[in-house]
Symmetry: C2
Subunit: 325 residues, 2 copies
């Protein structure tokens, strides 16, 4: 299976590293909008200009598109689906139906196979929600994120005047997790579910009180949360907060019985040292599935919900039944 | 969707109750090898003799076979697959390949669709193992069961002379769980992973020391475990140990990165008040999928690995993408 990586940031590198861990997957090229000569890949994969990808069509089974959901993927994924089977990690939940429609139209017309919104949320967390709801329809879902770095919230802090750098962690509130696990199906506010931890490097002479106030009152990002702000040095940020850990919990509690007398809890939990490397690993497995599904003749847009689990694995049906069932 | 329940013990009742929670699923009959007149179903479903099921062929889309894996399912599932789409919960892991082959042959010949080994292990736990291995091939799986009642081990204790009744709980060892979650990929012995708790009602005048010795030294069942035996009264057993709780953990830890420097943990956990009602709920959702897959023209034997998650849900693709992705 020959993958192309389109866009080479943290996520693109994650896909490249995932391919190196899977003997049946080869990366035949990294495609970038930057100067290809200025890029060095981790495993020595050749780098080409993004606008030359059609010249490499015969070397590519699936393009894994590693762009951003806000401005890149809404046009990149439909455009690339006109010529390639594609996988993306589009994660703006509210816009998934519109993105699906655009990609599906392009893929149906071209006879290609696309999968959108791969990764862990959307992605593996979505699968957990679906399975749990199908098994226990009398129930409630709870999704918690963290402890992990939110890049969007870190960027929002960096835009505040006087801020040199920042790292924001989303942290699930332990009491909320325990209340959910108990099966009592509590109604939880935004503030009750997560708190936000901000580690901030200020410019010399900046007004720290003003920065803190700007953070904790920022609409949508912080105002509905209990937020802590800690000022640290640039050295401390590099030393203690260089990684991109993340993770979270999907917890579904539901009841069965003639009178709902039995409670069940289904919990799916991820603890990730590197968000982009884990996401890249999910995308590589999804690309394997897209290639197989395409070879069977199915075209159009899919999501993780449409992929039979066996198609994600390099093992045969016999091997899966003998060793993993 | 019209289901038949074939075999009416705890699991059959669990399927019946699951159908009551799903508006798109109806149970048109319970089929029993006992005297149908002597059975009363929980929700008033009609009861028929097992040998009359062919007379009801037009009223049944899928038969959910609720027999035992040791002696019932190896012949029941292939035989019923000659006339019906079927789902079973065959759980003798070592014999799954042979059972699959027998059911597949019958279903292919008859043009029916069968799914074997549904439930939670095999079933949901198997799915967790497959997904985790496909995402993180450089990793290790650990499955823990409990805290929950093992019917097989409870039965084994009841066969000891002087034992009137017994309940055996399988309990995961907390230290082993923590070692696994740490990502250190420990090698664990049987004794290190689980311990066994036995609650025993002895006959009047029985030799308690002899019973305890017979339990803790019993080959395969108890000799490789740390086992505790506590003698209680019949009233205490009824009061404190009447339920059939179960559950467990599938934990996969694996690494990514150029030098395996990032560790990730994927954990799937079930905490179930009623093992048979949860298993019945899984089988009902799988029966929904089998009916859909059959209507699309696919025949033969499947497992959970072959079912696209969307087929388990009563929601449409649009609804799933809008609300659960």
């Amino acid at each position: 299976m020959r993958l192309a990586v389109y866009g080479y940031g943290n996520l693109g590198r994650g896909v490249e590293l995932a391919a190196a861990a899977n003997p049946d997957i080869e990366i035949t090229g990294v495609f970038t909008r930057r100067d290809p000569a200025a890029l060095q890949t981790v495993t020595g994969v050749p780098v080409y200009g993004a606008d030359t990808i059609l010249e490499h069509k015969d070397e590519i089974d699936v393009v894994v598109i590693c762009g951003g959901s806000a401005t890149d993927l809404p046009f990149m994924t439909p455009a690339l689906a006109e010529n390639f089977c594609v996988v993306d990690s589009f994660d703006t939940h509210a816009n998934i139906p519109a993105h699906f429609a655009a990609v599906n139209e392009a893929a149906e017309k071209a006879g290609t196979t696309a999968l959108i919104s791969g990764g862990w949320d959307p992605g593996m967390f979505s699968l957990s929600r679906l399975y749990a709801n199908a098994i226990l329809p009398e129930g409630s879902d709870y999704t918690f994120w963290g402890r992990g770095v939110s890049q969007g919230h870190s960027d929002a802090i960096r835009r505040i005047p006087g801020v040199k750098d920042a790292r924001q962690y989303t942290v699930p509130v332990p009491e909320a997790l325990e209340a959910v696990r108990s099966g009592s199906r509590p109604e939880l506010t935004t503030r009750q579910k997560h708190r936000r931890e901000c580690w901030v490097v200020a410019e010399d002479g900046a007004d720290l009180a003003a920065i803190e106030k700007a953070i904790v009152t920022m609409p949508n990002y912080f105002d509905e949360y209990d937020t802590t702000v800690t000022f640290i040095t640039e050295e401390e940020l590099q030393r203690d907060h260089a990684g991109l850990p993340h993770g979270g919990f999907v917890i579904h509690t539901g009841t069965t019985g003639a009178n709902g007398e039995h409670t069940h809890t289904i919990e799916y939990r991820l603890t990730l040292d590197s968000n982009p490397e884990f996401t890249g690993s999910v995308l590589a497995a999804l690309a394997r599935a897209v290639d197989r599904i395409h070879r069977r003749g199915r075209t159009g847009c899919l999501t993780v919900f449409d992929v039979a689990p066996a198609d994600l694995s390099p093992l045969s049906g016999e091997e899966l039944r003998a060793h993993l069932l």
